[in-house]
Each structure stands twice: as C-alpha cells, then as structure tokens.
Subunit: 341 residues, 2 copies
Amino acid sequence: MTEIISDIGEFGLIDRIHTLIREEGIETPGVTIGIGDDAAAIKHREGYELLVTCDCLVEGRHYLSDLLDPQALGRRAMTVNISDIGAMGGLPLYALVSLGLKADTPIADVESMYRGFLMELNPFKASIIGGNVTKTESVNFIDITLVGEAEQGKLMLRSSAEVGDAILVTGYPGQAVAGLQLLQRSDRPQDHKDHPLVQAYNTPKHRAREGHAVALSGHAKAMIDTSDGLLADLGHICEESGVGAELIKEQLPLSEALRQEAGQREFDPYDVVMSDSDDYELIFTCSPENVPDIRSVIASVSDVLISEIGRITQAAEKIQLILPDGNKRLVTPSGWDHFKT
Amino acid sequence: MTEIISDIGEFGLIDRIHTLIREEGIETPGVTIGIGDDAAAIKHREGYELLVTCDCLVEGRHYLSDLLDPQALGRRAMTVNISDIGAMGGLPLYALVSLGLKADTPIADVESMYRGFLMELNPFKASIIGGNVTKTESVNFIDITLVGEAEQGKLMLRSSAEVGDAILVTGYPGQAVAGLQLLQRSDRPQDHKDHPLVQAYNTPKHRAREGHAVALSGHAKAMIDTSDGLLADLGHICEESGVGAELIKEQLPLSEALRQEAGQREFDPYDVVMSDSDDYELIFTCSPENVPDIRSVIASVSDVLISEIGRITQAAEKIQLILPDGNKRLVTPSGWDHFKT
C-alpha cells in the first residue's frame, strides 16, 4: 500500500525530509544553524548584498498535478525563485520551503518533490535551511523563500532602462504556454511528454548564471525575468524606468517547435511569444554599442540564444510592435493577473 | 458594495498593498532594494548573524475566519514568526509576505491584515520588503518569511540544555487553546471577545524582547518558543539536548482566568497548561544560580511573569510531572501533529 502523510504524521514527515536533505543536499558555507531549530542562522560575506525573494505555486492554479510529476514540480518551484535571484544579478544560496499538503499525499511524492528542489540547488552549492509543512484540506501549495547574494553595487534593477537602449531577451519565451495548451488539448497528455514545448512547460530553465554574468560585466542597464510573459515584464521595466519600447516582430525569437505547432493549428506564433507564459527567460537592456560585449559575456557561461528584439523609446510611445510592413501596433501588456476573470 | 479582489485584479491589489506599506510602514536601515523588483536586497551589519524563519497559517486549520478579524489575523501571523526569531535570541528586521487569497476576499480585509502585520513590525522598525499574492479556490493562507538578526555568538539553541539546569517559562501557556475552546463552545462567540482567554487566542504575544535580552545576558543555555505547546516544546529541547526533565505541577503558571474557567467547567487546568496551544511564550534553561540574574534581565525589558517550573534530568528519565503528593507521572509530549488523525 502506498504510504501517505497521515500514516507517519507531521513530525514523521519532517524527519524523512531532514534525512533526505542531509543525505542528498549540499552544505552551503555560511550556515551557522541549519534545519531543526526555531530559525536558521547565516553569516554573510563582506562585499555582497543579500537578495531575498519568495514565490508560491498553487495546485490547479500554477500546475495541474496530473500533468506534472512531483520531481518536475519541485524543479519548477525552485526554478521560479532562482530566476528571480538571477534577474537581480545574483546567485542562490539558501532556501526555505513551506508546503501545504493534503493528508493523503504519498510520502514518496513529497520526497520526489524535495529531490526536484535539490536538483536545482545543488549545482549552485545552495541548500535548504528551513521551512514548514502544514495540512490543507483541498489543494497542495509550495511557497519557497530563496536567499541569494550579488556583488555589492552590481544589482540589476527594473528601473534603470534608458531611451535608446537595445532590448535583448534570452531563449524562446512563450514555449511553456504553448506546451501547456498542447497538454490540455490532448486526450492522452502522457504521450506528449517528450515534445519540446511540453518539456519547456514541465521543466522550465532559469537563466541565473547568465543574469549573474551580465550583472558582473557592468554592461547592462535594466533586467527582469519573463515570469509574467514577455510583454508584461517589458511593461514592468517601462513603468519602473519611465520609458516606452518598440519591438520588431520579425526579430522576436521563435523556436522551430513553436513554428511547427502554430503552422499545424493555424495561429500566429508571435502572439504566443509575447503572451503570458511560464518561461523564465531574461529581458535586459543596454547601450547598443555594448550588445557584442554582452553576447560574449553570456557565451562564456551558456549557449542560450540571445535575441535583440527592439529599442527603448520615450514613455509616451508606450509599447509598439513594428510589423513587417513597417506599420506599428500598440500592444498592451496584460500579464498574469490571477484575480481578474 | 464591498470592493473585492476580482474588482481590481492582482496588479491593482499589489498597488494598494504597496501604498499602504509605504504610508504606514517604517523604512528599515539596510534595505538597498525594497518591494517592487524581482527580489529585495539588503546589506548586513558586521558582528551580527542573520536569522531566517517561515511559518504559515491556513484558514480552517490555524484560524477560523469568523472568529478572528483580519487585523488580529495579521498580527497573529506576524507574531508567530517574530516569536521564532526571538526564541533564537534575535530581533526581527525584514518580512516577506506570501498570500493565497480567494477572489471574493474584500480588499478592506486584505488591508486590515497588512495593518496587523505592521502593528507587530513597526515597534521593531522592521519592514515588509517583498512577497506575492496568489489566487486560491477554497481557502486563504498566509505564509510569512521573517529575517532577523542576533549578535554573533549569542544564538539561543534547543540543543544546549544540561542536566541540573533550571527550566523557566514566560507568561501563561495554555490560555490560547482555552480561549479557542470557549469560542467554539459558544453559540454567540462575539459576546466573548473581551474575555482574557479569548484575547490570548486572538492576539497572542511574542516574547522577542525578552528572548533577545536573555540571549545578550549570556546566562541561559537552551531556548525555544511554545508554538507546539509547553510539553511538546520542552520535548524538543530534551530530544535535541539529549536530556530529560521533571516538572513540578504546582509550579506551572496558572492564570486566574484559566483557573476560573476550569472551575466552572470542571477540568484540570494543568492539563491545558501543558497541552498543545497557540501561545508563543518562551521556555529556557539555565544554571540554577543564574535564575535571579535572568529574572532581573527580563524585568528590565518587560513585566511578564517568569516561572521556574522544574529541572533538566538525565535522558533516561524522559519527562516526568511531580505531583503534589510527591508521586511522579510520565507525561509524553504530543504537540501539534497536523497530519495524524
């Protein structure tokens, strides 16, 4: 019979989690007190600023448990947070994991989820230093607080884009939402597990190493991750920096998988690239003359595609899409607005 | 008509929260980047260790929304976390608030909840530096991560109690659970709002100032808060320190309100004092000769009652209760085990 949480209780579950973290996790320097006391304690390095972020995944809202196995879910939940640290120009160090779990959740699923967390943390020698588990009646949720560090004075903000800046983006935004739609349309979603769009949805990549390298180079001005979608997050940069932007439609990155899917199902793939999505790419701006330097800085840590997709303009222009015929279309950011129906 | 979250959407709600925090919160020194970017950034003081803790309240599990108004709920959620920082010997600095909210939640309730957070943070010049809001279908939850600091080398752990230590406790553990039971029994819970036991449940006190003062004095050995209940948390100290304990029943602190309630309803009030509860008092141990010093250290910051309730013994003794007739009773810690039924 499958062992579930109510078989071993909260303290039993916590013991199992601690054992897993001890055996499969990594000890991060700087942790004075790890898991097991009222709070964790850390000593911090001179010359660095601490970064703190938290993000929450709720079952049924941010993931469908029958479409995402627990390990992939764990990776996703941690990736979302690592992405936020990376978008500030930092690297992750310490995680606190707060879980809301139904009493009939299999223990093995919780352990797989933690393995997913560690798969994302271990490469950075980052570790889980605290958290808690709470019983919920109806849906599971995962709330992670991630602490990272960035070199002092090297933080990448949303508010420092300037008119004339080039706008760059990593990877292929929009793939995750296309993958989710593919799964939701299918009668047999499991058959599409290896489809590149489904993989983009199931195990999205963060760009923390790229973000950190760009920050250290000093060549970029503003940076954000695409957690709300390309347009919505470019919108955040525009709002915080008091600028506008124009995007060149033909320069938006389009993966072969998305191009094919759009061809088969007859939709404009560029709408998907700009839409709300669950990808965690980076958007950043820099002086046009610094584009080659930034490309080579990123190439030294990663082979991710870098696309130059437009320019920062005056605020009054808002966000315009330049079409292949030279006409412009005003594109209003929407983003993930979870409460409006 | 009552304005609810779905009227203004996620971004509208976030704007309202930011405005409230800006107008009614306090700026904590050390915050380089506050709310509004991908992550918050903080610079840390030399000579201090950072403490990090997180704790989650789930509607229906940790609170009943018809028995607790939103501001009291906000105070409770923050108090729970401040208590954890205090139990390590630290003081709170920065909070991240992650909310799961139903779309029909009134905006005014969310704002009241934030006022509750700030009522607890402002006296410490601590501030909210980040967080997120997520839509949930069925229940609201509040997950708070709190960052604090403690003087280097002055952390108070669970694991450093020694045989022969005196065991002390602040305040009156057990009052909160007695207050909750009183509310649950009543047909008209609102009529009991001012009852001292109900107040103990609705707005529990943390003892962070007391914990910090005790830590600085260097006189105490082990410390923990009573978030799982007096016996369960003493059990954590015993387990982590490899010791046992004996408690003297007549020395357990009993408030007049609990004594009266027990008299009317004919139960043994000491069972309630030792039981699972929602109080956030401190248990700590010290050499018997340091008890007077600790009493005067605490008296310099607070007039809370300090009771000496027993002694640390050899591990083999487990936890024994010494009855008025001199007999001993083995008392097994139970604590909040949310998943076992």
